[in-house]
């Protein structure tokens, strides 16, 4: 923000009156009027140009190298930064004076994200930059397989800032501590530290003179007793009800859930439509037959009346009747 203030008195006096945050540039107009004692003539106008720094917060810390650090406030991104090869980042976000709550997370170059961590109750003072330093973002983590056979190796890996120590926890027990490589990657493989059933793992970071980071995201994997290549050995999986989080069940004809659901829909629609066609056709034929029956009966009535009028023998009338009945049948 740039403010121009014109004063009609000595420049030395003005500078002592202003707050220290202001950067002052003082000029006498014209410059030739500056007397040897470096003060302007009181009768001359002095222009004071003050640059007032914006209020803001500077976030700095560590994350995996070449990762994107995202700073959010109220679900809106207020700033992003890309970490350097050492995993360091720094970003100044201009903000209004007052108390602010931010969240921050990083996404590494493999697309894995750290959990969002909260940076709460940051007081931003007007025209002052508030530093939030040495933010230790947790490492990223992934697991090589969702399910393994007991004895089979499973690899846990991820990224973090070089020069930090990774602490890996498996089922809440620290099983591995190591210095993160210069490329920012870490990896640990085990075929024995796990237990049968569901295993969960997470990691934290420690760095010299920086407090331990919050835990990374939690990854899980299953360990089963039998050989996974054996079709009879199915790893324990979530039921569709749990996985999808909805009532009922998923039909799977072996084509995958989505395709099977579509096929089921098509099948049900076809059955419904066919039933409708059959019902309508039956109705149509019934109505047609009924109409014909009425017509034949009408004809018969006319014929009988005619026969009676002509005094035809009873046998002839009965014959006409039986013919009509046959026709109706």
């Amino acid at each position: 923000m740039l403010k121009k203030i014109s004063f009609g008195f000595s420049a030395t006096l003005v500078s002592s009156l202003l707050v220290p945050a202001l950067v002052l540039a003082v000029s006498c107009s014209p410059p030739s009027l500056i007397p040897p004692n470096n003060t302007c003539d009181i009768s001359e106008a002095v222009t004071v140009t003050a640059t007032v720094p914006a209020s803001g917060v500077t976030f700095s810390g560590f994350a995996p190298p070449a990762s994107v650090v995202t700073i959010k406030e109220n679900d809106l991104v207020v700033g992003t930064a890309v970490t350097n090869s050492n995993g360091e980042f720094s970003k100044t976000v201009t903000s209004n004076p007052g108390v602010h709550n931010f969240t921050i997370y990083a996404t590494d170059n493999a697309g894995l994200s750290t959990p969002e961590i909260s940076i709460s109750n940051i007081s931003v003072i007007a025209h002052t930059n508030t530093p939030v330093t040495s933010i230790p973002l947790p490492p990223t983590i992934t697991v090589s397989a969702d399910a393994v056979t007991n004895g089979q190796a499973v690899s846990l890996s991820g990224q973090g800032p070089p020069g930090s120590y990774i602490n890996l926890f498996l089922n809440s027990t620290k099983i591995y501590t190591s210095l993160i490589s210069a490329s920012g990657t870490w990896s640990y493989s085990t075929s024995s530290d796990y237990k049968l059933g569901t295993n969960s793992a997470y990691a934290t970071l420690t760095r010299l003179s920086v407090e331990e980071s919050t835990p990374s995201k939690v990854v899980t994997f299953q360990v089963v007793e039998c050989d996974l290549s054996d079709p009879a050995c199915a790893p324990p999986t979530q039921t569709p009800k749990e996985a999808e989080g909805r009532k009922g069940f998923d039909i799977n004809f072996g084509f995958g859930v989505e395709l099977s659901r579509r096929l089921t829909f098509i099948l049900l629609t076809t059955i419904f439509t066919s039933s409708l066609v059959v019902v309508l056709l039956l109705f149509f034929f019934w109505k047609r037959r009924r109409k014909k029956k009425t017509e034949v009966l009408e004809e018969l009535k006319v014929k009988v009346e005619k026969d009676v009028d002509q005094d035809k023998p009873k046998e002839r009338i009965e014959k006409d009747f039986s013919e009509a009945e046959k026709e109706i049948e």
Partner: protein
């Protein structure tokens, strides 16, 4: 028979939900950060990064910048909208090529002019490949920021009150409304709407629905609440619900009176 078949065909067409056969979403990439609100001062330069994740298959993504644009119905004034458009953004590249299952960073640089006025400026980064993603940016240039909301129009239809609300300020403002209706007997019913963000130069529609209004005459009071420091503005209006009902009743009474008078005269 032909009629039956046609009817069956139509029934089948209407019964089969077409959406069930819609193709899968063809997007094969996604961006992590979709809404930015960046505060800065005139003359500053800021750079922001957008992380792009790609699914299966190599992907070439085209990047382009789109200034502030609103549909005609939402535009208060083309000049105002133009003044709030970010035309000082430059994506660092126009094309990014990403390997399958990989990520890439697209950066956008904003070089704010020294003479730019305080206020909110809007624009979007559009990423296009087989699908399309939009990243929305709001740049707030600090200085004198004004929040000014005006009620442009009130449209009453049955029990539904539609408010046209315009942002005359120079920054995005969150607006909510409450519509208080009172009938002739003095019964009062109030409906409030959820807060909505209105961009500078934008007109939005807020709808307050009053259910099961009986026929009659109503007085309404609209209150708009907005701004970070709670501010409100009010307006009064009145309307009829089912005025036809009253017109017919009046007509019936008049006819009845005429008939009674006529018969009385005849009888006399």
């Amino acid at each position: 028979m032909k009629k039956i078949l046609t009817a069956l065909f139509l029934i089948t067409v209407f019964l089969v939900p077409q959406k069930a056969f819609a193709l899968e979403d063809s997007r094969s990439f996604q961006v992590e950060q979709k809404d930015f609100l960046l505060q800065t001062s005139s003359g500053e330069t800021i750079s922001e990064n957008i992380l792009v994740n790609v699914g299966d298959g190599l992907l070439k993504i085209q990047l382009s910048w789109q200034g502030y644009a609103l549909p005609k119905a939402q535009t208060l004034n083309d000049t105002v909208v133009g003044e709030h458009s970010i035309d000082f953004a430059t994506p660092d590249k126009n094309l990014i090529e990403i390997a399958p299952q990989a990520t890439s960073v697209a950066a956008v640089n904003f070089k704010l002019p020294a003479e730019i006025k305080p206020g909110d400026y809007y624009g979007s980064l559009v990423l296009e490949a087989s699908g399309k993603e939009t990243v929305n940016f709001t740049i707030r240039v600090l200085g004198t920021l004004t929040e000014k909301i005006a009620l442009q129009d009130i449209i009453q239809k049955g029990g539904q009150t539609t408010l046209l609300v315009a942002n005359l300020g120079n920054r995005t403002t969150q607006v909510s409304s409450s519509v208080k209706l009172s009938d002739l007997l003095g019964d009062i019913e109030t409906v409030t709407t959820e807060p909505v963000n209105v961009k500078a130069g934008q007109i939005i529609t807020l709808v307050a629905s009053h259910k099961n209004l009986l026929p009659g005459f109503y007085n309404g009071e609209i209150t708009l609440k907005y701004a970070e420091k709670p501010t409100q503005t009010s307006a009064l209006f009145s309307f009829w619900v089912w005025q036809e009902f009253f017109l017919f009743t009046l007509l019936a009474i008049v006819l009845l009176v005429i008939v009674v008078i006529f018969r009385w005269k005849k009888h006399a």
